[in-house]
């Protein structure tokens, strides 16, 4: 895959670095001015998050710099780690052991191989159709019928969320958009930026002005202020980045709105699962954020929708 890294790509990257530098400075000032203990905890978590952001941005930047293949590998590894966290929290039986081996070591690499060779007709159905049929078949052969449907559904759901949905991010590189050839890296950058900045802004609005919770039974951290403020600001930022995309400013606003809405939905659903399993985070690989799945929950829901909207209207 050849992707050109043009001036606009550098502008996006520069913007992100400037933003993080500002955040680090703000975090540093806050950590020196904060008075009480409760606030100190919040600021410590904030600074851990900012530090983790630097690392994640550096990794993402490196993957982008290699052209397409680095991004495919990066998201493939992300899927692997996310699925690992998901299956760890999901009670599976002894009878699923070999099914899981296939899932982790054959289906995950295969999906990303299909993405790398840009075989749309196959990567769009491999997991929903073929893996969907294979998983229960393999478990049935193992001969364990206890809670069979439940176990099968959980493995399939993990595959859909952690692998299929996430793989739509690097799949953006395979879209043939007229007048935008070779520039798809910017589209992927735009998508990840809008989805993640929406998370960050929802967090910031929620922490500063958040009072009324949207769905306290599902997520204690989601407030109306966070939801409305975060989505409005992220949509506005997305609109302002139209120059990096194949979209007009208003189209870009619409796309960003779709990304942020789906992202919010993803956070909500993944939070419901955590609540059900009685945990706060899926893991603790990323300091301050929790697990990989905690960080990418919004991408999972937004990526397929953004991909298909773009594919339908712009190719």
């Amino acid at each position: 895959m050849t992707l050109q890294l043009d001036k606009q790509t550098y502008a996006l990257a520069g913007g992100v670095v400037a933003l993080l530098a500002t955040a680090s400075l703000a975090g540093w000032i806050l950590s020196h001015t904060v008075k009480n203990d409760a606030a100190r905890g919040t600021i410590q978590n904030l600074n851990a998050r900012i530090k983790a952001w630097w690392i994640m941005v550096a990794i993402f930047g490196l993957a982008m710099a290699t052209g397409g293949i680095g991004s495919v590998i990066l998201f493939g590894l992300t899927s692997f780690l996310a699925l690992r966290e998901f299956i760890t929290l999901t009670p599976t039986n002894r009878g699923d052991h070999r099914t899981l081996f296939w899932v982790f070591f054959v289906i995950v690499p295969l999906q990303y191989y299909l993405i790398a060779i840009k075989w749309y007709g196959m990567f769009a159905i491999m997991i929903p159709v073929y893996a969907f049929l294979f998983v229960p078949l393999r478990s049935a052969v193992a001969g364990d019928c206890e809670r069979f449907l439940e176990r099968t559904a959980k493995i399939q759901w993990g595959l859909m969320i952690c692998v299929y949905c996430v793989s739509y991010v690097p799949a953006l590189l395979s879209l043939d958009i007229p007048g935008y050839a070779g520039q798809n890296a910017k589209l992927m950058f735009y998508f990840v930026l809008v989805a993640q900045i929406s998370d960050v802004l929802q967090y910031v609005w929620g922490k500063t002005l958040g009072r009324r919770k949207i769905l306290p039974s599902v997520s204690p951290n989601k407030t109306w202020a966070g939801f409305l403020g975060g989505i409005a600001c992220a949509t506005f930022i997305g609109m302002g980045l139209w120059w990096a995309t194949p979209f007009s400013p208003w189209q870009s606003a619409g796309m960003s709105l779709a990304i942020t809405f789906m992202g919010f939905g993803g956070g909500l659903v993944m939070s419901a699962i955590k609540r059900d399993r009685g945990v706060k985070d899926y893991g603790h690989l990323i300091e301050g954020h929790g697990g990989v799945l905690d960080r990418i929950d919004s991408l999972c829901f937004a990526a397929p929708v953004f991909f298909h909207l773009t594919r339908y209207y712009f190719t």
Partner: protein, 200 residues
Amino acid sequence: MIKTLVILVAKLVSGSNIRWQGCDPDVRQRIYFANHTSNLDALVIWAALPAPLRDVTRPVAARDYWINNWIKRYLASRVFNAVLIERKKPTKTDNPLDDMLNALGQTHSLIIFPEGGRQASGEMMPFKGGLFHLAKARPDIEFIPVLVENLNRILPKGEFLPVPILGSVTFGAPIKLEAGEARETFLTRAQAAVKALNHL
């Protein structure tokens, strides 16, 4: 070199997160006693220890399992420095308790699995008496309960390919044999101490 590699692979495969909940890592003589669900248990607990502790800590393992091929023999003798004991037919001269006491000496710590075998279901079995005899013979040593979780899902009994589920190792607070405490009371208490470290 191979040792470093084994430790790295153990940590990578099991994704272990390591919690010191009731005690801090310390090179003083200890006996770590843990639940036993997978062949990976001894390796993962041993790899979870910080390097200075690892150097003086020896897993106690079944001789029949660890000498039947050269890779296992190599790992047991050169990598973990395991104490291999006879669990099937102990005799006066080939007695696991003496082997363990000799292995402890004045510097070493041990990792033991008082259930005596692996449970496919993951349910804990009653502890065998060896732990009690060790506690009686060596009152100067700390007995640390250790809970390994999810390792039976990574590599269940009878499987040879591991699945990369996240495991965890939790070290609890030391327990002591009380003066005049009966064997069964102590063993039940020790088992409860391991169970209590459960996280899910």
